[in-house]
Symmetry: C2
Subunit: 498 residues, 2 copies
């Protein structure tokens, strides 16, 4: 273990000791993205400190900035201790989400490619602390990051004090998998020299300004690594529809079997798509995406995926173990980058990828709600879906047609919160088919969108559209008086059908 | 005149003759952007052909794709003749807008940086005709484009038949002002080698596949060139607020007086901003934008603006004459690029510009409606506002707080169409001040947004927000039952106040 620490040996302290460097009102930037690479010890120690302060009638809350989502032993414990005043740019922790929804914590949900730059440019003010998980500390004081890169560079640069957690659970063989390219400051940057997902343009370590390091904490704890469910019938149908769509692009001459560059949101439907790709004609699949998922590991093992570029892992425990055992092998096929690079419009647009993201609801014209049930109840956040949707060659949204046993329809008259506009959405895929909206005016899209709704909801959607067409104006007909009836029904009666 | 035609001398015909190459059902790509550089003769000839066909009981409609908006003698005459079935990516012609709104023509309103690529990738199908205005034809058959570049490259490549209009009204001295860089096809492009607005990376002419040229038509007609109104009191206040905001950025160390790179929407408010900049401390102003406006010419003349990169002009008649007289001089300070380049996320993000666009309405959380009054009545379109808003260093929206003598508020509870999301909007500016939303959670934004609303509307907005906060969920509180009351009031009673 001490081998992993080297340079800062004298700064090794307990998490409780290190938490002394975190004060009420601090802005704290942490490592971590999609349950990987987040600090494992400090959050609990900070939460204890907060609880003690609160018990003594003192204030203690911090603003927490991450790569993306973390885990119960990070956002969860901090939320339970009411230690978070403000959180950005992404969260999926249920306890913390509860605080946003009951109004006791604030959340700024922004594009993951934007957050680092906004920190750098001072839009949030000064940062006091950075807490960064590492695989190991190099002899010169620099670090090898762990299973996520996220916004580490920006927080290390912005913070006055740096705390490093060295996690022995993370494989030392992750060293060499990262490609740390520091994007230049504005204005008038040079181009990012990546034209292929597999291009390496940076270092395998992160530079650390030694004078800022105030503590090093040893840990030995796993990433969150939630298991994925085996694909169910609905996920398999969606996956089959997605792959049929790709086949159609090949038939139309817009894609070749060895040319598919994938971006994929996280979850069971994307994993079903990847399982489907195993048996498809697609070869030399590449990913330029945020997150490495189980399905990509299977594709790599099968020789179907040659390269996956991301900023973190989101693996099940079984696959995380496999990664730690065989990191040496996987790093031939996997690159972990800073999230300003994994999600950068410049590179996304340039490589020409096909994006696939989940959604909460799509409306009849293709506006997408990715974040707020009923317009008000935050789920996770927009994450990188906007970075990819807006810049992909083709942007798709995939979702089961209904949720909660049919009480919620994924297709609604008017999306109650809009994260992706009708100008951006190209394709919507459910278990009922593919709505290809490319090149269509709003009214031409309606029939296609309704065709992929659940059959229970199609007549209701058609009824709405008939009513909407009574409007004097016919570009995107709406009946604003009943536009949110689906969502109001759900809020009042627990079922969008009323 | 014949000097301007050279190579295709034998193909010179009347507009009526040339219109024979345009058939019912054709997809037609035309030059033209913001009333500049559009074909002046063919549209009328096609409209006549359509009218004759309709009189004979025959069908005649075409799909028209442009750079952006054109003029009464282009979109206007075609619309009057019911000759347009489908239009993309942008329109501001009132007659054609009427057709979209009464349901007799279709409109796909998409980001101007996306349209060319989508044509190229075949999302619309095959193109039959390109009609392109030129300043002159070179000896080898290539052309010098006129006062807009737009999507000329994409339409010339996609079309089976090319018709060139050579417009003698356009100054021959525009030659050398253009920088024609052909972006590579997907996937895995090289970086666009522009890091400063003034970088020239292409040719001064457009290559023409000679075998496709079927006709050349001579014209001598001005661009649309609508006059701008002199700034009124409200515009001047907005401009002063915008410049105060810039001053604040300088004070915060995020901007230097010689470092301002501007993007600006078109109109009277932007021109007032530019007039304000004339008397400001800002020097060495640059523009990386879509359109060169009067105010930029004044800034260039005053030595305050060193470089303006765009894809077209939108000048008043007086300024258009000045441009034609002194193009030789202005081309030291002006570059006209293809719109895939002027609006490209890669370059926009890299240069680090401050974007400023108009809006129809903003809601209390910062979602912006740029396109549809009351969610259904299309005005112009999203244009390049999304390209710039999403990728700017700082994104601002500027608008008078009310329209129609106070009957319409620019600040509403819930935007009835969303073109820019709460994740993107950073700053909203009216004559009442600056709402700086950067780094804030949705609920923290509300007070700031309401503070720039017209005083008549502030109590109504506060009432709504109080009601919204009764919602069980507190991330972006809404009362969906009354969320559109402002817009419904306007539709039913002609006043948002009810």
């Amino acid at each position: 273990m001490s081998e992993r620490i080297g340079f800062y040996q004298d700064l090794v302290v307990s998490a409780e000791e290190a938490a002394k460097f975190v004060n009420h009102g601090d802005r704290v930037g942490i490592s971590g993205f999609t349950g990987a690479g987040y600090p494992k010890a400090l959050p609990t120690a900070i939460a204890e400190k907060a609880k003690a302060a609160h018990a003594a009638g003192e204030e203690f809350q911090i603003d927490v900035f991450s790569g993306a989502s973390t885990a119960p032993d990070c956002d969860g414990v901090l939320a339970e201790a009411d230690a978070i005043r403000f959180r950005s740019p992404y969260n999926s922790d249920p306890v913390l989400r509860g605080k946003f929804n009951d109004g006791s914590a604030l959340y700024q949900d922004i594009h993951l490619s934007h957050s680092g730059q906004q920190v750098e440019e001072g839009f949030y003010g000064d940062f006091q602390v950075a807490i960064i998980e590492a695989v190991r500390i190099l002899d010169n004081g620099n670090i090898v990051p762990s299973s996520a890169v996220g916004n580490n560079l920006e927080y290390i640069e912005a913070a006055e004090r740096i705390i490093i957690e060295v996690n022995e659970w993370q494989s030392e063989h992750l060293e060499g998998m990262h490609d740390i390219y520091k994007i230049e400051k504005l204005p008038n940057r040079q181009p990012i020299p990546i034209t292929n997902p597999g291009d390496r343009v940076g270092t395998t370590y992160i530079e650390i300004p030694q004078e800022k390091v105030v503590a090093v904490v040893k840990t030995d704890a796993p990433d969150r690594n939630a298991p994925f469910k085996a694909p169910d019938e609905v996920s398999e149908k969606i996956a089959a529809n997605f792959i049929n769509f790709l086949e159609g692009e090949v038939a139309a001459g817009r894609l070749a079997y060895d040319q598919f560059i994938m971006q994929s949101g996280v979850g069971n439907v994307p994993n079903a798509v990847m399982a489907g790709l195993l048996d498809s004609k697609f070869e030399n699949i590449q990913a330029y995406t945020e997150v490495i998922q189980d399905g990509m590991i299977d594709l790599i093992d099968a020789g179907k995926m040659t390269m996956a570029s991301a900023t973190s892992f989101a693996l099940s425990p079984e696959y995380a173990d496999r990664m730690n055992e065989k990191a040496e092998k996987y790093k031939e096929h996997i690159i972990l980058r800073p999230q300003q690079i994994s999600n950068h419009p410049e590179v996304i647009r340039r490589v020409g990828l096909i994006a696939s993201n989940g959604m909460i609801e799509a409306d009849i014209y293709g506006n997408i709600n990715s974040t707020n049930v009923g317009g008000t109840r935050i789920m996770n956040g927009t994450g990188g879906s906007g970075d990819f949707t807006r810049n992909a060659y083709i942007s798709t949204f995939v979702s089961p047609s209904v949720a909660k046993d049919g009480a919620i329809s994924a297709i609604v008259p008017f999306a109650s919160h809009i994260d992706h506009t009708e100008h951006d959405t190209m394709v919507i895929i459910t278990e009922y088919g593919v709505a290809d909206l490319r090149g269509l005016a709003p009214k031409e899209r309606v029939e296609k969108v309704i065709s992929v709704a659940h059959p229970d909801y199609r007549p209701l959607l058609e009824e709405y559209y008939e009513r909407a067409k009574q409007n004097k104006f016919q570009h995107t007909p709406h009946d604003l008086k009943t536009a949110f009836d689906f969502q109001i029904n759900f809020a009042e009666k627990g079922d969008m059908r009323g």
